[in-house]
Chain length 301, copies 2
DNA sequence: GAAAGCTATAAGCTTTCCTTATGCCACTTT
DNA sequence: AAAGTGGCATAAGGAAAGCTTATAGCTTTC
């Protein structure tokens, strides 16, 4: 469902944050390289679109009202997300031409890499990072052929060929829309039922597919694809439309599960835990930038 | 620091999400009440501004490229934040005229209420909620005078007069910029040093001020305000400028601490833990909507 | 092979947004 | 008390962005 209109403007929210930071519209305008009247008008139209008075202009300086302070805090999360999007897009754009070349599986690229990159950028401001995406198998190939300095994958099979380190835990989840029979709180699905139900899955070569395959193989079973899709987003959209259950990383489904648009199905006898690993070539030494990134991921600094 | 340009457009990101959802530009355009060429041009300019190909238009339908799928996921967090901002702004706008009247201290309003309201809205779509903000003392007065159905406060003193329930834990943190002497990893500040250092504080009547006062009182001390400010945002801005240490909820400082722009000072003998409580009048029965909200906060559904 | 569905381009118009110029206000300095 | 400084708003004019309708081309489906 689209956002309810009117939608505020990102530049205006950013500008408001600068007003909070500098204490005046004028200085915020300078920081944004626009004229003071432009900033003034932007803020006024933001107030109009939200229907709130954000600034108290009665003194010499403009000061945030309580509502303004709230909007600034509410915007902080949005602007943080925008920073991540921008840094992620920049890394994708570089296509492997950079001082630190990262390759990541779709899930890792979508849910973890931008956060890492924003932090890395704040610690090492002038580093240039590129990001290459693929499924677990493709990432392995990129590392194998030295086209990236460090890779991130899910699943078990690949790491033995490389140096590796676990950087996070993840697990798969079988998800359905809330009106699906499996969505009932007391319903528990067995490996046998799961294997005999057509599922929306990632393609062979993906970490998700591998883990599900291994989990069912333990019972002498194998998954029955309703359809195979190359992107988590596409699977989510299909599951939401109700055509079949899907199997996805819990990272992928987190937001939808929290808002109740998807339900995680309880399973028995199906082991869907997995780890996310950094991998790098056994041949040479790790590059300093790659080491720095790994340290940041492990320590948080 | 302002965002790095060019900044993508929220409507375009929302539109891209709809393309992922519906599987075609045309249907996304319909969902957004714009013409198909308008949607097409918006998406093209989004691609240009990010420097990435987001859609594969080679078949009959447009389909997301891997980069497009990544951008959709990166956008999801942003759009979620925008939903929260919009619902929060709408609640503030109603100024107590609604079927569920919520009053909350600044910290709770800034960091928790919008999430609750988005969830509540998805469970009870046609509910109208208003939000009144103030410090802990003002919220108590609003509840006392029946101008809100439920209130949320920090600190200890107020609840005894009302029915109450703990809904979250929070604690205060003394924060400084990274170049401050107290920022050193091994530095530990005692109650005595803290009380003799001018601090940037919230005003009397705020939950933060009360908790700090109580913590120092246990040593026969009291805080020494460098300045008293009415908003968390303003305190943060001042602390970042380096004039003095500040005392803030850990919610407020979370983002800045994670990015390293603020450092939490280790303290000894200063008890800054506190709870966040829902409070409501002891007189009558709780309204059904208020009960629903409380259930949602406790259960998550 | 016709039909249906989807997307891109073009033309024309409206709206938005920015800059410069200017005036007023509040607070500070002398 | 008067002048100075920093700050905000309004107005006018011009540039740019965005939308709609009309149209044409492409792909998949029946």
């Amino acid at each position: 469902m689209p956002l309810s209109l009117p939608v505020p403007d990102l530049v205006s929210l950013d500008l408001l944050r600068s007003v909070a930071e500098f204490g005046s519209i004028r200085q915020a305008a300078i920081a944004h390289n626009v004229s003071q009247p432009a900033a003034s008008m932007r803020l006024k139209s933001l107030e109009k679109s939200l229907g709130l008075t954000l600034l108290d202009r009665s003194g010499g300086n403009a000061r945030l009202t309580p509502a303004g302070a709230a909007v600034v805090e509410w915007s902080a999360q949005i602007l943080e997300g925008v920073s991540e999007l921008l840094v992620g897009a920049r890394a994708l754009r570089r296509e492997g031409q950079s001082s630190l070349r990262v390759a990541a599986s779709m899930t890792v690229a979508e849910y973890m890499v931008p956060v890492w990159l924003v932090k890395l950028n704040s610690v090492v401001p002038d580093i240039s990072v590129s990001l290459q995406m693929g499924n677990t198998e493709q990432v392995a190939e990129i590392i194998r052929s030295q086209k990236a300095d460090i890779g991130f994958v899910e699943g078990w099979s690949v790491p033995h060929e490389f140096n590796h380190r676990i950087v996070a835990d993840d697990d798969l989840a079988v998800v359905v829309p809330p009106d699906h029979p499996w969505a009932h709180r007391k319903k528990v699905v067995t490996a046998k039922v799961l294997a005999s139900t057509p599922l929306i899955l990632r393609e062979l070569g993906s970490g998700a597919r591998e883990v599900l395959g291994k989990a069912l193989e333990a019972h002498g079973l194998q998954p029955l694809p309703f359809v195979e899709v190359g992107s988590n987003t596409a699977i989510k959209a299909m599951v939401l439309s109700g055509v079949a259950p899907g199997v996805l990383s819990s990272f992928v489904t987190k937001a939808e599960v929290e808002t109740g648009r998807l339900v995680v199905v309880k399973t028995r006898g199906v082991s869907l835990d997995r780890s996310i690993r950094a991998i790098w070539s056994k041949g040479g030494e790790q590059t300093p930038s790659a080491k720095r990134l790994l340290k940041l991921i492990s320590d948080g600094r």
